[in-house]
């Protein structure tokens, strides 16, 4: 179980609004740049992808890992973060 980091707590604490992709927990500058290059420049776009994958963390992690070479921990963190955000706001 990954502990909820401060970044995740910050992200989940409020509506994501227009936050950049790097505001999502587990997505650092490097991964964020990769994602932005593919058009995922905002957190809500990533959430869209997450929702498209039916909020399935495993599928989302696979997608992140395969498409953007994300590490397992990064993928897990971001999936969890988005999931929590969904619990809070959807």
């Amino acid at each position: 179980m990954v502990m909820r980091s401060q970044k995740c707590q910050n992200f989940v604490s409020e509506p994501m609004g227009n936050k950049p992709i790097t505001a999502v927990d587990g997505i650092d500058e490097e991964l964020g740049a990769k994602l932005a290059a593919k058009g995922f420049d905002k957190a809500y776009i990533l959430l869209g992808q997450f929702l498209l994958l039916k909020k399935e963390c495993a599928a989302f992690q696979n997608w992140l890992k395969s498409s953007f070479d994300a590490s397992s921990s990064e993928a897990e963190q971001s999936a969890l973060c988005l999931l929590e955000w969904c619990y809070a706001f959807l």
Partner: protein, 653 residues
């Protein structure tokens, strides 16, 4: 090699012809990549535009051999290329995934078409005034290039891609009849080109957040190609030898005539803007976009970066662009014509009413003011009058007394003083009595006349002088016959009093009254004096208010009537349109049906008058709606029929 030499010859051709010829050539399988390449970088090419076209694509991905329409090309791009293309066109795409790829491909196609059309029409506008010969074109190009706007350059580059795409298409169309070459073939090619453009447009039409502009824009591409490019070409090089440009234009016209397919009218909407003479026969069938509007719209849209005289058109474009769909658009434009007279009419009526109202109320205000002034004047006079008249009474005290009986000056003056005192007291007493009698009579006096005895008693009590003195004073008063404010009466009112012994009663000419009493009296006097005036004024005011109310009612009713007329016209026209689309059985619709559709049941009685007026108005003032008697569902019924064909009623003119 024949083909290579052909390419060399091609170098001297203007680009549009070159494109046409090239597409024939490249379609044949033995054209080598090298020859194309050589053509692209050929130093002899007099047209930087042409070269640039190739160079720019050489710099980026070169999609020349790609043999598909631009839509297909956009669809076939990889995600990253699609993204790059969109970014180059100034559009920031989201993630391109399986679900969004198609959308972005479409978007790219549309953007390209739009940009190309924009540059086309701008190029067309710019190229027409200048001489269309070959060498002048590079100059123009340089001038354009020198313009500092980065956006123009971006657009131009993307437009070149678009051009290239078109040429790809042409190239593949060339395969249809390979071997034929020359003007006749060209005619055929141009028709082919048009044909391939149209289906693409058809496919694009229904998908819509994408505005009229994108729909209109690509349509202009072929027409411009034929119209401007060909005319340029023909006048430049082929002018004397072959009338190819004219041939091209003609052939396309012929093609329209030959194939009146159901989708042609839509495309023709854009044609007349460029060459109205050749396409005039089709004006009638133009269905949605008016000729001038499409031209203006495209021109204004496209000349955005360079032309600064576009502003007056912009409003028009907005107005035309916003109500895109359905009834809103139709009604808006259609009613522009009729709404104005209606407004004027009601305004005129209102003005007449307002004029009368204005003068009447003006007059009434003045009259009221006059009344008020008169009233106040009367009031003032009545109230202040007695006060002013006190003056003589003061003077009276100082009157010199004619002392004839006594020689003794002291006695005389003494006598005089006594008389004066008596008279003064008498005066005060009488005035007080009269005043109290006038003001509600609190002492229950029978009249203002005070009997002599009573007055005598009073004077004796107050001053202490004997009755003789009083009589002397009265006699003195009579003798002097001064306006003293004391009136003396004898038994017979008709005869003037001469002797003090005859006096029976006394009266004050100036009753002394309190302020409130005076005011009250003044008020009643004033009101009685101005009674008729006051009432006539009040009556006029009432009239004015009634008239105002009536006018307002009438205006409201009129407005409601016109609104109803508009609704009716819209309903009848819609019905007719639906009939045209085979959604309705009859081209006419029952009057009562319209009424029942437009007016909810609870209102039908209430606005019956308005409805009747609207029907009358329609019968007398609306030429597009015809009233007929038809048997509907076994019942004779008055019906309305829309008499104007839809394509006419849609146009603004």
């Amino acid at each position: 090699m024949f083909l290579d030499s052909c390419f060399l010859w091609l170098c001297q051709r203007p680009s549009s012809q070159k494109a046409d010829l090239l597409k024939v050539a490249t379609a044949s399988s033995d054209v080598t990549w090298d020859s194309k390449r050589r053509l692209g970088t050929e130093p002899c090419v007099p047209l930087p535009r042409w070269r640039r076209l190739f160079l720019s694509h050489g710099r980026r991905h070169f999609r020349f051999p790609c043999s598909s329409s631009s839509a297909m090309a956009a669809a076939g791009l990889s995600d990253s290329k699609l993204r790059a293309e969109l970014l180059a066109l100034g559009y920031k795409p989201g993630p391109i995934t399986d679900t969004t790829r198609k959308l972005y491909a479409k978007k790219l196609t549309r953007l390209r078409a739009e940009v190309a059309a924009g540059l086309r029409s701008r190029g067309g506008a710019g190229a027409q005034p200048q001489s269309p010969s070959g060498p002048s074109r590079p100059k123009a190009r340089v001038g354009q290039k020198a313009s500092p706007q980065a956006r123009v350059l971006v657009e131009r580059e993307s437009q070149e891609e678009e051009e290239e795409e078109e040429e790809e298409e042409e190239e593949e169309e060339g395969e249809w009849d390979l071997g034929n070459r020359g003007p006749t073939q060209r005619n055929h090619l141009s028709t082919e080109r048009e044909r391939t453009f149209l289906p693409r447009e058809e496919g694009r039409l229904p998908s819509s957040p994408w505005d009229l502009s994108s729909r209109r824009a690509p349509l202009e591409v072929p027409t411009l190609r034929d119209g401007v490019a060909d005319s340029l070409a023909s006048s430049a090089l082929w002018g004397s030898t072959v009338t190819e440009g004219g041939g091209g234009g003609l052939s396309s016209t012929k093609w329209w005539e030959r194939e009146p397919s159901p989708r042609t009218p839509r495309a023709e909407g854009t044609r007349p803007g460029f060459s109205s003479s050749s396409t005039r026969p089709y004006l009638g069938t133009e269905s949605r976009v008016t000729p001038s509007s499409s031209y203006l719209g495209s021109l204004t849209r496209d000349t955005r970066p360079e032309l600064n005289y576009r502003s007056p058109w912009r409003a028009e474009r907005k107005e035309r662009g916003s109500p895109l769909t359905g009834a809103g658009f139709k009604q808006g434009t259609r009613w522009d014509g009729t709404r104005q007279p209606i407004g004027l009419k009601s305004q005129g009526k209102g003005r007449k009413g307002i004029g009368l109202e204005f003068y009447l109320s003006w007059f009434l205000w003045l009259a009221t003011l006059g009344l008020l002034v008169t009233f106040l004047a009367i009031l003032w006079v009545k109230m202040v009058g007695p006060g002013q008249l006190e003056g003589p009474e003061e003077n009276f005290k100082l009157l010199s007394v004619d002392c004839a009986q006594r020689t003794d000056s002291y006695c005389q003056s003494k006598q005089e003083e006594i008389i004066m005192t008596i008279l003064h007291e008498l005066y005060n007493y009488l005035a007080g009595k009269a005043g109290s009698f006038e003001c509600g009579n609190p002492e229950n006096l029978e009249s203002k006349f005070i009997p002599v005895g009573e007055a005598k008693d009073y004077i004796e009590n107050v001053t202490g002088y004997s009755a003789e003195k009083f009589m002397d004073a009265l006699q003195w008063l009579l003798d002097n016959n001064k306006e003293s404010g004391i009136l003396l009466y004898s038994d017979e009112p008709s005869k003037p009093v001469t002797m003090a012994s005859q006096v029976v009663s006394l009266e004050s000419a100036r009753p002394q009254m309190s302020l409130g009493c005076r005011f009250h009296r003044a008020l009643t006097t004033a009101i009685t004096n101005l009674f008729i005036f006051f009432w006539s004024l009040a009556f006029l005011w009432g009239m004015l208010f009634l008239l105002k109310y009536y006018w307002r009612k009438r205006e409201e009713e009129e407005m409601a009537m016109y609104k109803m007329v508009q609704k009716i016209i819209a309903a009848v026209q819609n019905h007719y349109k639906e009939w045209e689309q085979n959604l309705e059985r009859y081209p006419y619709v029952g009057i009562l049906h319209i009424r029942d559709t437009l007016i909810p049941p609870q209102d039908r009685k209430k606005i019956k008058r308005i409805w009747d007026r609207a029907v009358d108005f329609l019968a007398s003032n609306e030429s597009r709606i015809q009233t007929e008697s038809h048997r509907v569902a076994g019942e004779d019924m008055l019906v309305w029929r829309w008499t104007q064909p839809t394509y006419l009623s849609d146009s603004d003119h």
